[in-house]
Assembly symmetry: C2
Homo-oligomer: 332 residues x 2
């Protein structure tokens, strides 16, 4: 048997065999149940998050739908100030999906879960008829504990605060786009998919009170994330084009494809708005982490109003808004 | 705009508008974020669960994919002894899906969340190209607290324990099957989708120590659930065909379609294995609840071995196993 059958999703022996043979062992679970009971030695705030992954293609330079799903949910928990602990994984498989591809994704999930130091505790497998899905969709949901005293909020943002970014932008979106369209770049553009809990934990341990808010600029890119923060805080954010880290190949690919890197999805960086006086120290700490070498201060809070302003490299000022529709569908 | 576009899933203005106009208001949230922070005043065990729903068709007699997704996850938490608190909802929409159908499902989600007394705190919306999905898939994940002292386990099952069922079997599967194939029954067969936390809370409050294990016999039906429990406990379970509640119309439909009601999915009943001495009292309490009127003691633990035995109405004994493949695909 080398392909997924409808029967793999119907609760019977075929499903139990699939779980027992392929899924449970890589997750190091006796079996995969849809519920798990875990111990939380923390009476207080916890973070809950969910995300479904429908990226196409499922394998792309630098990652696949499996590590993307794990890292994405780990990162969603991390940017709200939580320490990610437990994840659930739900698969929607299409009849006829290659079991070898499924195995490859399962291994990738297992590997990235270990790297992020989180535990997959429960899961679910459904199968839809051929032509009613697209190989594999994955939902990952997760919980993490929010240490006492941590309270990130866009309402804490004040004029003068600095905007930090932890790495270069646009890599994930361009990597997926290139794979989808059969482009290759030299050097190749790799997705930045990676877990941010380590690096965020570092700065939260040392600078919790100076960090106003964090976000991971995935779908919609840095532009959309900053616009959301501007609206939520009622403050104007000014960013400086020259200070935004973008790889030359990403820049080139964006020129070629008519895309703006500010709107291209990222899967391994975060944006933080921090107290001005601590910004340089926080940046220094981020730069010490392997995932933060390209970090930079890219802007600041310049007034009230809810706008995002881009100071361009030739000295102009451009208003940055959300895209009306879609730039890159099915990027995550 | 009356249909879902790819842009509704891309993180930009179209997605924000969809969330703001349709999703957030029915969930009574200011917006729908993929993360939420909640307070848990409970340092101890919590239950985590996940389930994806791909039922086809999405509307069926007695329910739809929306209330199914809420009730299913509420029930998964309830049967492990947890008090469900918070749910997340992830949508995978197909381009071209009718927004009016989406609205109907959102209302159904909101209504069933209220009925189950749980809160939807976070969510996610993805859109896949036309022909790469099937209207709508929903993932619901959730958490609940496990009261101190509650510890359900198949390993507690002993010879002599009774098998209780909280209602009649096969209703959900037959209702979906009928809708899918254009059959009508008189009286109509309605899905039993409903939240079980109320009724389970009642018996757990009063009989926690007498309840060994509970399960919701969804995909694979009562037969598969009992077989899992027999294997997990290493005990034999004997059930009596005459004592299993099945509506005549469900029996008739199963005869017509060549199905065995023991393998047909349920979405609003639970199976409990309980101490023999308390079984009648527990049954009495279940019967008092509106969702438990058809409850019955259907069998008992008869020995060691991991088998399920059915005493038939004509006096024979049949071995009950899991189905090898699928009986009714995409039933939940």
């Amino acid at each position: 048997m080398d392909r997924i059958l409808l029967g793999h999703g119907s609760g019977g022996k075929l499903m139990h065999d699939l779980i027992k043979k392929y899924i449970a062992p890589v997750f190091e679970l006796p079996t995969l149940m849809d519920s798990a009971i875990v111990n939380i030695n923390h009476s207080g705030k916890i973070a809950i998050t969910t995300d479904s992954y429908t990226v196409s293609p499922i394998f792309f330079p630098g990652g696949d739908i499996g590590d993307l799903a794990i890292n994405g949910t780990v990162n969603d928990l991390s940017v709200v100030g939580a320490i990610p602990l437990y994840l659930t994984v739900g698969f929607i498989l299409e009849e006829g999906f290659q079991i070898s591809d499924f195995e490859r994704i399962l291994k990738s999930i297992s590997k990235s879960a270990k790297e992020a130091n989180i535990k997959i505790v429960a899961g679910d497998t459904k199968v839809v008829d051929k032509g009613k899905g697209d190989g594999i969709f994955i939902n990952t949901s997760g919980i993490g504990i929010v240490p006492d005293g941590v309270e990130l909020s866009p309402l804490k943002i004040e004029v003068g605060d600095k905007v930090l970014i932890s790495g270069s932008i646009g890599n994930h979106g361009i990597a997926v786009m290139a794979e989808r369209n059969g482009f290759t770049f030299e050097p190749p553009v790799l997705s930045d998919t990676r877990p941010l809990n380590g690096i965020i934990n570092e700065i939260m341990k040392n600078f919790a009170s100076a960090i106003k808010i964090m976000r991971d600029p995935t779908r919609g890119g840095v532009a959309t994330t900053l616009k959301e923060l501007a609206v939520d805080s009622g403050k104007d954010i000014t960013i400086y084009e020259n200070s935004i880290p973008v790889h030359d190949t990403v820049k080139g690919a964006c020129d070629l494809l008519g895309l703006d890197p500010l709107y291209v999805a990222n899967e391994g960086i975060f944006v933080a708005i921090v107290e001005s006086q601590k910004a340089e120290e926080i940046l220094e700490l981020i730069k010490k982490h392997p995932f933060g070498k390209e970090s930079a201060i890219i802007g600041e809070i310049t007034g009230g109003g809810g706008k995002v302003l881009l100071k361009t490299s030739i000295g102009g000022t451009r208003l940055v808004d959300m895209l009306p529709g879609e730039q890159l569908p099915r990027i995550c």
